[in-house]
Amino acid sequence: MIELAGNLLLLIGAFFYFAGTVGLVRFPDVYTRLHALAKADNLGLGCVLAGLALQADSLAAALKLLLIWPLALAASAAVSYAIANRAQALGVRPWQGEERS
Amino acid sequence: MSTGLIFACVGVVLFAMGMAGVLLLEHLLRRILAFNLMGSGAFLVMVGFAQRMDVPDPVPQAMVLTGIVVAVAATALALALARRLHALTGKYTLPPAADD
């Protein structure tokens, strides 16, 4: 049962990763792509970690896996802010839709 | 085809690519990159070839760890020299050798 739930979470995680990648490819500019990566991939990572934690041998191991998530989140947030900040400092204008650009 | 063997083969190709890069490229930083690729190739062969039956072997792993440290030291030295040269000549390429 737990294993099944874990595997399910892994699949959901994979799905979010996939969505993030699709977003990266399809979204029009750097800001929107940042959205895709920062949100979808991190959610994917969270699901994967949760799925693996469910299958872990010990509580400590599970907690350790889960500990990665906040770290990755913090990293992701900081990096995406840094990139966005730099982009606008360098004058990259956000995409305003095809009709308006 | 085992994991070890696959990466050993990758290592050989990387080594060849890296060596060609060190020898043929002009830009110094690029040559330093190429050297690192070359070294990584040799490391991959070292570990991969030794465990081509997929039995992990700690000895080559220990060697590679040492090797990585050596490679970083070499890279740092090369970069320091390249930067000094750049500061003096404004270029990241070697001037033609005047050897006599």
Binding site: L11, A14, A75 | -
Partner: protein, 87 residues
């Protein structure tokens, strides 16, 4: 199972890498930093499970931290122009 997911993630990673590395602006390449932060860590923990090598989790932890540092360093130090192509 986890290995299959890892493979899928690697595929994702490669596809995204190709897209990001292709440009056209340096900003797109910046995204590789983010990509490795999340996807690389995911692959590593999955590998840790699949190969029964718990110490790979430590690698994943380190990578998560490093990705942040490297990404910020990227943005701050190496990205200097918003041009379409690099100079």
């Amino acid at each position: 199972m986890s290995l299959a997911v890892a493979l899928f993630l690697l595929l994702n990673l490669v596809a995204a890498l190709v897209a990001a590395a292709r440009g056209p602006t340096p900003a797109d390449r910046m995204l590789t930093a983010l990509l490795f932060g999340s996807t690389g860590v995911g692959v590593l923990v999955l590998l840790a499970h699949a190969m029964a090598l718990p110490s790979l989790v430590d690698v994943a932890l380190t990578l998560a931290l490093l990705a942040a540092i490297a990404g910020i360093a990227f943005a701050r130090r190496a990205w200097h122009s918003a041009g379409q192509a690099d100079d």
